[in-house]
Symmetry: C2
Subunit: 156 residues, 2 copies
DNA sequence: AGTGAAAAACAATGGCG
DNA sequence: CGCCATTGTTTTTCACT
């Protein structure tokens, strides 16, 4: 599954994760490769899974999604079954953008995006807290977002 | 700047944020619109800024980026100047994928992606902590990522 | 607001150096 | 890996409803 990436590939990926709307000719111009070579390399990277997919990045504000929150969750009863149910639930919740298990005293970190604080409260109180496995929830609300590019650091 | 979005727009956006590689004809098939209408609506949404950009989503593992961490930062001296320097720095750091100011006792939440724990340690000790404004740093490492789609919840 | 067809742009492939 | 030519797709525009 692993692929050998050369300098061209890395440059290509670095540009594509920022702007996937460029044509192969434009990409080639930026990295010093012909359009046909760019096409071939892209296909290879897509097949290898290095490029997972292409996405449109939307503006949350424009869609009425004003509130981003980071929610730390501690599970109480550490039964396998309860933990599994919790994982299934957060995975299925559309408000949950990210869910990670953590080291340290928090078990999970969730990134949640909702239209307003009222909805955040509803999500926490009606969805998260009633879960049997959930012991404690601590949410921090993002007041201002300095950076949100989610660009992977590629050696340049 | 605000735009009126109808049901077609919302459906279109919901699909595009998951898969921007579909052709206008394919998109039209899914939402019941002709390719030309899809094209026109996309342009409108791009111009209005609802669609910010198109991106390739890369596989961090395939690129040797094995460690994701959430780093909570508390600032000590709350001088305007120090805070500004801190913001400038995290914005410029490629390892920082996201940076938000928070409510509660943490001032900032950073999402950091690096190749390994050694690099995380270097970033925290050599970049973050030496900052004059930084009082305290508490990092949680993501052991497992259940969900990482960063898909906005659009009413369906 | 929408369709459908024509025109223009682009991606993808194969052959050659 | 560049370059070129070709083919098939796709986007975009235009005339029309």
């Amino acid at each position: 599954m692993s692929v050998a990436l050369d300098g061209f590939d890395v440059k290509l990926l670095a540009i594509l994760q920022e702007n996937a709307a460029l044509t192969n000719a434009e990409l080639g111009g930026k990295i010093g490769l012909s359009a046909s070579q760019v096409s071939r390399r892209r296909q290879k990277l897509e097949e290898a899974g290095v490029i997972r997919r292409y996405r449109a990045a939307l503006d949350p504000e424009a869609l009425g999604l004003a509130v981003t929150a980071f929610v730390g969750v501690t599970l109480g009863a550490h039964s396998k079954e309860n933990a599994r149910r919790f994982r299934d639930m957060v995975t299925a919740m559309p408000e949950v953008q990210e869910a990670h298990t953590l080291t340290g005293d928090l078990d999970y970190m969730l990134k949640i995006v909702v239209p307003d604080l009222k909805t955040l409260s509803r999500v926490i109180n009606d969805d998260l807290l009633p879960q049997e496995a959930v012991h404690h929830v601590r949410s921090s609300i993002a007041m201002d977002t300095l950076k949100d590019d989610n660009l992977l650091p590629l050696a340049r």
